[in-house]
């Protein structure tokens, strides 16, 4: 590498660093500023003490958790089944999963408003009629495109057919085949699908707002009108959580690759 390209690298890195980090740094400063001068952690403590914000944080975390679980339960067995038993349906499933990317949130809301009257009606029977957790069904759909890509990549990295047949010939039923053989070998894909889905759900504003539910982002926007520092602190916390999740993901999958999957190269 010549000195010029090395210098160019450093310059680019610094430029991108400034581009990404400067707004975060400015937000952090703003969230720590006390009206009238000095510094204060008040905005940050409000994340867990504010009457409006804290419940919204819990709702968004709950939504993220339930959406990820539902998405995995829906997608993992479906994708395995399609690959093993209905390869002709693979393009169709891929198309359906990627479809939410192409439909604007507004259109989704208009389309689902009528359906949701029924969803909230039925959720009413288990005491969740008014709960924002009802959003989970839309969020599962919303996370499908990202989750599909992640799972598809990790399923392609293993010889699914042969592994499944080997497991079956050794006496494993379909449940055991999936849980004991397939899942441990696509674990990194499931992890990345989950983390991306969490990031999507925590950052979702449009649909929640249009449907009239109060999730984290909706409340952040509301708060922004009255209490700037707290809303910025909450936004920053969301970004940091997403960052930490992605970091964990890359560390976890790297560790796994070294121990197990890396060897699949032959």
């Amino acid at each position: 590498m010549t000195r010029r390209t090395r210098a160019l690298r450093v310059v680019l890195l610094v430029l991108f660093g400034i581009f990404f980090l400067l707004p975060i740094y400015a937000s952090a400063l703003f969230s720590l500023r006390r009206p009238g001068g000095g510094h204060s952690m008040a905005a940050w403590t409000a994340i867990v003490s504010d009457d409006q914000l804290y419940p919204a944080v819990l709702v968004s975390l709950g939504l993220a958790f339930v959406s990820v679980v539902l998405m995995l339960l829906l997608l993992v067995p479906t994708m395995i089944w399609v690959r093993l038993r209905a390869p002709w349906a693979r393009r169709l499933v891929e198309f359906l999963c990627l479809l939410p990317l192409t439909i604007p949130a507004l259109v989704i809301v208009v389309g689902l408003k009528g359906v949701y009257a029924w969803v909230t009606y039925f959720l009413g029977f288990i005491g969740l009629g008014e709960s924002a957790l009802a959003l989970t069904f839309i969020y599962v759909v919303l996370t499908l495109p990202y989750a599909y890509r992640a799972l598809d990549t990790s399923l392609s990295a293993i010889d699914l057919q042969t592994l499944a047949e080997a497991a079956r010939s050794l006496g494993a039923g379909w449940t055991a085949t999936i849980t004991r053989v397939v899942v441990p070998n696509i674990w990194s894909g499931m992890l990345s699908a989950s983390f991306i889905a969490i990031a999507v759900v925590l950052g979702e504003y449009t649909i929640a707002s249009l449907m009239g539910y109060q999730n984290l982002q909706v409340v952040i926007v509301l708060l922004g009108k009255t209490d700037g520092p707290t809303s910025v602190a909450a936004s920053l916390a969301t970004i940091l959580l997403g960052f930490v999740l992605l970091l964990v993901l890359s560390l976890a999958t790297r560790g796994r690759r070294r121990h197990v999957v890396g060897g699949a190269v032959r």
Partner: protein, 363 residues
């Protein structure tokens, strides 16, 4: 042809093993008949090889026996018990696949113990059994490794140990050697035979490699177009092919014009006996390369086109007076003085030959 590694001794017959019966199996995929009325019986403890070109239905037959594919019609029975509608995981069959199939997330030991864990064996028992199986295939010292740390041949040996660990009623080998290089292939096929004789499990071995089939099997079934052309002991199959397809597929064959009368064929001027199924007049005799001898002869009617040196043996490609190409297999010392362009005379040894109608061979 290589030596058969181990011969079955009479006492082996008493080993545990069950019979397998495939009756009138058909399998159609759309318009294609992968299996067209296959009937096959494996005796208890026997190793039968199914041999044929790709697409002949041999793998389909094995997969149907394993329960991994469904027959369009026909039945599968093991030890007299009808298994046709029993799912793969309830059939108790150990299988080794063509592709490497070890579970990447488990160690070698856990791979071998996998089937036992599913059967509810406790940790001590299944590890004992797995260790025993690894010793059988000579890989004890690798038990804590992952599949990625093993060579292809080692992976297939672990797969064999894993298949046998569950004490299967039938062992199924689906071209287990075809992903390996030539030297390992020969070693491993001999090892498979040794292990199979040791455990006495009835085994179906599918391969497209005739040398492999002849070397390991008690009986070899040759398949073509979803049907069994002939099933016989290796030597019998080699010496007495029942159909032109078998004669051609098993061993490299020359088609030499011949005239048959009164059960004798005149081939290259020599009278040789004919096999059952031969035509009664003019046809083509299927003559093996090793049945031909080549002598330098300036008056000879044949000429050498090329000589291929293959180490201990050489293949001499010749053209007869009527332009028929033939290949003779000689020891390399016999072939030493032969050169392309040389005139030679050919002689055929008086072993029985199959004479087929000229038209059927498309020659």
């Amino acid at each position: 042809m290589s030596q058969r590694p181990t011969e079955r001794t009479p006492s082996d017959r008493s080993r545990p093993g069950v019979s397998v019966e495939l009756t009138d199996l058909t399998r159609t995929y759309g318009q294609v008949n992968a299996l067209d009325g296959l009937t096959l019986r494996l005796e208890p403890g026997e190793l039968v090889a199914l041999l044929g070109p790709s697409g002949c239905g041999k793998t389909t037959a094995l997969r149907i026996l394993a329960g991994l594919d469904e027959a369009t019609s026909g039945t599968v029975a093991v030890d007299g018990q009808d298994l046709t509608s029993v799912p793969a995981n309830k059939r108790d069959m150990g299988m080794v696949f063509q592709a490497y199939s070890l579970f990447p997330h488990l160690t070698v030991l856990d791979n071998v113990a996998f089937g036992l864990k599913l059967r509810g064996d406790d940790r001590t028992n299944r590890h004992l059994r797995a260790a025993e199986m690894l010793e059988l295939v000579g890989l004890s010292e690798h038990s804590e490794k992952y599949a990625s740390q093993l060579s292809g041949g080692q992976q297939q040996r672990v797969a064999l140990a894993r298949a046998l660990a569950i004490r299967p009623r039938v062992l199924l080998l689906d071209e287990p050697l075809s992903a390996l290089d030539a030297k390992v292939r020969v070693q491993l096929r001999e090892e498979i035979r040794r292990v199979q004789l040791e455990v006495g499990t009835t085994t179906l071995f599918v391969t497209h490699d005739q040398e492999e089939a002849l070397a390991v099997a008690d009986r070899v079934g040759v398949m073509s177009h979803g049907r069994l052309e002939q099933i016989a002991a290796p030597a019998e199959l080699y010496a007495h092919p029942a159909t032109p397809f078998v004669a051609e597929f098993v061993g490299l064959n020359n088609k030499v014009p011949a005239v048959v009368s009164a059960g004798k064929a005149e081939v290259l001027g020599v009278q040789v006996p004919t096999l059952v199924g031969s035509v009664e007049d003019a046809g083509l005799a299927m003559v093996r390369p090793e049945s031909l001898s080549v002598r330098a002869d300036s008056e000879g009617t044949a000429s050498i086109t090329s000589v291929a040196f293959l180490g201990p043996i050489s293949r001499v490609h010749c053209t007869l007076a009527d332009q028929t190409p033939v290949i003779a297999q000689l020891t390399s010392s016999q072939a030493r003085d032969l050169a392309p362009g040389q005139r030679v005379s050919l002689e055929v040894e008086p072993a029985p030959v199959l004479v087929v109608p000229a038209a059927t061979m498309g020659a």
